[in-house]
Amino acid sequence: MVTARQRQCPSGKRASWRQEGSRERAVPGGIPARPAAAPRGLFQAAPCASVLLDGAGNLSDFNEAFRALLGLKRTRAASGSFSACVERGSLAEFLRHLRGCRLDGNVSAASISLQSQKGSAIPVRLHTRMFRGEGQTGYHIVIIDDAERMAAHELEQCARERKAQLQWTVSELESFSYTLSHNMRSPIRAIQGYAELVAEAVTDSASDETKAYLGRIMSSARRLDALIQDVLRYSSLGQATVEIGPVDLNDLVRSIAEEPPDLGAPRAKIEIAGRLLPVMGHEGFLTQCVSNLLSNAIKFVAPGVKPRVRIWTETQGAFVQLWVSDNGVGIAQQDQARIFKVFERCQHPREIDGTGIGLAIVRRAAERMSGSAGVESQPGQGSKFWIKLRRLRP
């Protein structure tokens, strides 16, 4: 029962949780008194096990949660000693904890494994306050079932180990692909170099057929070298962290467009519409995206056609969409998803060279910048490639 006086307790004064007529008595010298039957309702209904022991280790009170924790029968636990409730091994741990408690008003804590006479061991945390009351010392112990917390802790530990393992694997893979490609480039240089020397040495004497063979050796070496570089670029997109910041797309695109890749094709006409909008991105990644899109736009034209490329940006909600449209051969509907995958290419005239990784780099780089990439196209109608990136916040 809570009295009316307590309910109307003026603010600023702490309302007592004690019941009127509580048997608890303050002991001089700061020594805590036994909480006795004080908030009985809370003691009984508390979700964690709570028990009062007298100095001799007899159960003087306990709550429902304690009974449930140790799986005690109502009759059994109604009275008697605590030692009868738990298994011998965990009793020793328990008593060691009690011996460590002092009559100074502080709460001592310990983590032990508690095993009931019949049940299995449960990891628990003990919070014990020693008190003096009715002529003898006693203990008020709150027992918190730690199994759930331990399980969560183990899970967390497991996740942490997995993460470390994954990070290791990723960095191993990165260093592996790097070392592999580094080591592969050196024999390619030798193949290319010696083939060129042979070609120079036999300029006057070799047949056209021999020269063509040498040409194939050299173009294969160059292709393999380009392939390795693209694989390296693609795998470097996997790096753990990408720093995203404001990028002046206008400057970036214009400087790339000024030096279009030399593809032996007639010089392309590149038109940039207005001032391109700035975006949130990574300059290195964006450079790769734009130069790949631009070189594709110029590369994939029908023979004899002068490439015409148009570039513009538009705002799409929280994003800016960069468009690169061309007058190229176009891409059939069924190929449009495929071309963004590594090593996937459409059927093109043989003379169009490429590694098959360029658009995979574009998409992956866009995604690493929290954006996306795609295409709108019809065969014979040219293509409109786009990347969408987060808009610069004003």
Binding site: Y178, H182, N183, R185, S186, I188, R189, A190, Q192, G193, Y194, E196, L197, E200, M218, A221, R222, D225, Q229, L232, S236
Partner: protein, 148 residues
Amino acid sequence: MKTNSDGLILVVEDNEDDVFFLKMAFEDAHIVNPVHVVSDGEAAIRYLAGEGEFGDRKKYPLPALMLLDLKLPRCPGLDLLRWVQERKVLGFPAIVFTSSSYAADIKAAYAAGVASFVVKPLTVEERRHFAGLIRDYWLGCNMVPPRL
């Protein structure tokens, strides 16, 4: 003061093919400077320190330019660069000449005091172009302290 045009070029490279192509490119670019090749990082350190077989400074002068690969036997290129950096008195530019264009390598090389970072060219034409730039800038314009 004089330009380096007659200074020695120290090449630290273990790949014989690359040494062959480089020497050929130097020849094509009419570079007449003496070239000394060592094939690992430790030998490069001995050379620069004037130790062991490289004790005679007249025969093995300090270079006007060092070209080094990063992947080297015994002592990696970056360790060699750091060794050079700690002995600032040596006073010559080091150019990394490697297959790697790995950002971490480029950053580490500059942190270790490299003057320039070049990815090895693939074709004869590109190599000739590179050798021409070495001749015109690093041997023609760039200054190093006079060698005794």
